[in-house]
Amino acid sequence: MEPTYQPRLWHLIVTLFVVVFGGAVLWMIFNPRVADDYRNYYIDRSWSCFPREISYFYPLGEPVTFVAGRPGYERDTIRWCGFMPIKNDGIKSFGDYGILKLKFPIPDEDLLLTFSSWANTNASKPERQVTVSVNGKSVGIVTFKDAKRVNGSFVIPTALAKASPDGVMEVRWDVPRIAPPGTNSEPVTLQVRLEAVRIVPVSKAPPPATTTVGEPAPKRPNPRWNDVSADH
């Protein structure tokens, strides 16, 4: 014998209220009020990093050192997206790209972008190419053949430097994907480590560096800081 049930009106009335409430929640779910960066990173997942809120302040010509304990410009105002915080050995990229954003009065001449970088690769692995672009346009490619340091030095034409609509220059390192996604569904990418970056007007650029690739730079006469890392 099948059990019988008696419908109750108050059940239906309360359910109706809950359904209306649920409808409002569904509307909210399908109508997020979020900024583009949030939508791109968390909802669409089309970006591989979530930008930091920074001032972009950069005193043109100053070297920015990303190594803890070193002098240089350390206020962390240009690390925008895709680079982890400053550690003992620089800033490491994650995801498909790392972006620095810099704001300074752009002069009417070409600029020179120099940086010192490393990648988590070695001689037994295939060569890895990293595209460096400024304001969305490629200015060159850096090739990592092994675990040694690679110095980048690229000229940024004035027109390109001034191409940004908001006056903030975007310098971007696009890294290749090197393995299929792991258990966290994120693609495995080459990790670039930046140690230092500098942008300087070409007319004020220092003479080309004589440093051998893979070796530390020799100490210059009258250095602008004391080398504190020697004893550590």
């Binding site: 309360v14 929640v25 809120e53």
Partner: protein
């Protein structure tokens, strides 16, 4: 009536009033567990300060729940190395209760929360008694596991496991009594505590079908009579209310009603095939050439498999409501990543209860397990306090 006789009767009634063993047992075990782990902490660190002991126990998500109770939900994500994390992933109900308790008692959130969690676990154990169908040995093992087992830390410090297990056993007890609307209301609190609380909707339907068949009906008859079951309709509708209120709050706070889910990207969580995630996790251990030790990944994989096997056992035993809730309680977090599967499986009350049924079936297994659990509890305490991923 003779006064002396009346007095004797009252005295006799008082004398015969006993607190049942199933109520006293969790209290005693909780006190023994706290004292034992505190003693181990003193021996390891030489520190007698009880607050420092509670602080040492408060690792990983405990800090997040503490901060949530202290400061509420954070603004723009900026945590972790990738700068994409904040506390939106943590459901509010537990932290709200801890915050309220700390306000009322004047205790710190850490102390109030730790005491509260211990008492919630005791309450959960007591409420679970009807689900054990008078099998005291199984009940003893369940309580022993909660208070003196290798995962006792979840039930001592600021984690949501205690509250979630309490609500789960309350919900299933109400389903057993066929009080579906009250069970649905309990489900609303579950979904305000953890996302897996939503799965209680399926458990309600399964329990109703089960009860219908038990009362002499058929499955076909159950589905045929569903249109009359306004109680079930309301019960199921009530469950998502908890998470919905949280979603509304997040919509106003962050602009995204599903921020609690989207922010999981910071933890490397994205929806995928749970079985594929399980395979990747287990494969990782052997791909790395590790055939000697159980890595964190393998431990998570084993925990997930254990949870699924127990769900199958529940179904086999005819407890379909438990089975569905537990199976999806494993698969839902597993579909995002295998990380923390140990904790997620331990947080599923039916899995613990069914395991207690099985392992207490043979007296020798039961007596063997007690010292094993105890030893693991003691030896894993320093591991837990040193923030081991293994136990997360």
């Amino acid at each position: 009536m003779d006064d002396s006789l009346t007095e004797t009767n009252v005295a006799a009634r008082r004398w015969t009033f006993r607190i049942p063993a199933y109520i006293l047992l969790p209290f005693y075990l909780m006190l023994i567990g706290v004292a034992l782990r505190y003693a181990v902490y003193i021996r390891d660190t030489g520190t007698w300060d009880f607050t420092k002991y509670l602080r040492a126990l408060c690792v990983y998500d405990c800090n997040a729940y503490e901060r949530l109770a202290l400061n509420g939900y954070e603004g723009r994500p900026s945590g972790f190395d990738k700068g994409d994390a904040n506390n939106w992933a943590f459901f509010p109900f537990y932290s709200i209760l801890v915050w309220a308790l700390a306000k009322v008692t004047g205790l710190t959130v850490l102390v109030a929360g730790s005491i509260f969690t211990c008492l919630l676990t005791v309450w959960a154990a007591i409420l679970s008694w009807p689900l054990f169908e008078n099998r005291f040995r199984a009940y003893f093992l369940f309580c022993f596991f909660l208070f003196l087992g290798p995962f006792s830390y979840y039930f001592t410090t600021l984690y949501t496991e205690a509250l979630f297990i309490l609500l789960t056993v309350a919900g299933f007890s109400l389903l057993k009594q066929k009080d579906y609307v009250a069970a649905g209301l309990t489900g609303a609190f579950m979904s305000a505590t953890r996302s897996t609380g939503l799965l209680f909707m399926a458990a309600i339907i399964a329990a109703a079908a089960q009860n219908h068949i038990k009362d002499g009906g058929t499955l076909r008859g159950f589905f045929a009579s569903l249109w009359k079951r306004t109680d079930l309709l309301l019960a199921v509708a009530l469950v998502p209310i908890g998470v919905s209120i949280f979603a509304i709050y997040l919509w106003f706070h962050s602009g995204d009603a599903l921020a609690f889910q989207h922010i999981q990207r910071a933890w490397g969580r994205a929806f995928a095939n749970p079985f594929w995630n399980l395979w990747l996790t287990i494969e990782l251990q052997f791909k790395n050439g590790n055939f000697k030790t159980i890595s964190t990944d393998l431990a998570f994989g084993i925990a997930a498999i254990f949870g699924m096997v127990m769900s199958v056992v529940m179904a086999w035993k005819g407890k379909w409501d438990w089975a569905i809730f537990s199976l999806f309680g494993v698969l839902l977090p597993l579909s995002t990543n295998a990380y923390s599967m140990l904790r997620f499986v331990v947080g599923l009350a039916p899995v613990l209860i069914m395991s207690a049924f099985i392992f207490s079936r043979w007296r020798w297994v039961f007596y063997l397990l007690l010292p094993v659990l105890l030893i693991l509890d003691v030896f894993l305490l320093p591991t837990w306090m040193s923030r081991s991923y293994y136990l997360m």
